[in-house]
């Protein structure tokens, strides 16, 4: 990786911000809160089952609500990607019990492949850094090469392979 491709923390932008995606769409990133629950549930009910990762998001609406209730508690962070008022992407940092945060993000199928996931990830890391999050980790299925490539590009490093999943982490200043 050349130096200009190695982002530092300065490269992680803080929400709200807008970008034009690879398809020319205006995508707005902003911090999410409890008031966004219905719009986020709506996004996950449209989610393609083939894009689930390690059991999330759940497929049925009641299970989606239970899952979101459990992870959108205070202290956790969310960034929402919107296009024309609809939620098209959602990223979360969920506190573990060891001072770190687990990261996950999802982008609706019609909005994949246009750079939104990368920008959502960078914005979420920017928000985390701004709120004093120091260590972020994630697990990703080992066959999900596109996601692994994006995570490595923003600075995550592989810390282990637990079987079906690869674990990665990074430290924010």
């Amino acid at each position: 990786m050349s130096p200009e491709e190695s982002p530092t923390d300065d490269d992680f932008p803080v929400p709200p911000r807008s970008v034009v995606d690879g398809e020319g769409r205006d995508i707005r990133f902003r911090e999410g809160d409890e008031g966004d629950l219905e719009a986020v549930v709506d996004m996950y009910t449209q989610f393609d089952p083939s894009d689930r990762a390690q059991g999330i998001p759940p497929s049925k609406e009641p299970a989606i609500r239970d899952w979101l209730d459990a992870i959108t508690t205070s202290g956790n962070l969310q960034v929402i990607a919107e296009h024309e008022g609809d939620v098209v992407g959602h990223g979360m940092l969920v506190s573990d019990e060891d001072g770190g945060y687990e990261l996950a993000l999802f982008v609706l199928q019609d909005y994949q492949g246009a750079g939104i996931g990368t920008e959502l990830l960078r914005t979420l890391l920017g928000l985390g850094s701004d709120r004093g999050v120091e260590r972020v980790w994630l697990s990703v299925e080992r066959w999900n090469e596109p996601a692994i490539t994006v995570y490595e590009k923003v600075g995550f490093e592989r810390t282990g392979q637990a079987s079906f999943e690869i674990e990665m982490d990074m430290t924010l200043d």
Binding site: A53, Q54, G55, W67, S95, D96, E97, E102, A104, S139
Partner: protein
């Protein structure tokens, strides 16, 4: 749980994880109803639970349900020991992984090993 009726020889593998304890409750319940011949094998998994404590909990729940089952403790190489033991059973039941703070299921190496190598029908409980 499988739909078949009638009693079966069932081996339940427990590592103390949330899903494995759910597997314990369901398997004990089924054994009580169907009269399964049940045995429990406690191993040290990713949950980092104390094997003796998990075995004790299992013994308590079995006796509370009035189900008679041997509780074994597996020391090392739990995966290959489980595969070996399971040969004598109709079914092996395990908890279906660890749940991360995000709610992601993570399949540990013991489950993966058993999944690939066991000749016995395996049920992963969610």
């Amino acid at each position: 749980m499988p739909a078949q009726s009638g009693c079966m020889k069932v081996l339940l593998a427990l590592d103390g994880s949330e899903l494995s304890m759910r597997a314990l409750d369901r398997t004990v319940e089924r054994a009580r109803e169907a009269g399964d011949d049940l045995a429990v094998a406690v191993y040290e998994g990713a949950a980092a639970a104390d094997v003796d404590e998990v075995a004790e909990t299992a013994t308590e729940r079995l006796s509370a349900a009035g189900v008679d089952a041997a509780v074994h403790r597996l020391e090392d190489e739990a995966g290959s020991r489980l595969v070996e033991l399971a040969d004598d059973y109709d079914e092996l039941v395990m908890g279906g992984g660890e749940i991360s703070p995000m709610g992601k299921i993570r399949i540990g190496e013991t489950i993966e090993f058993v999944l690939v190598n066991a000749q016995t029908t395996l049920t992963l409980v969610r």
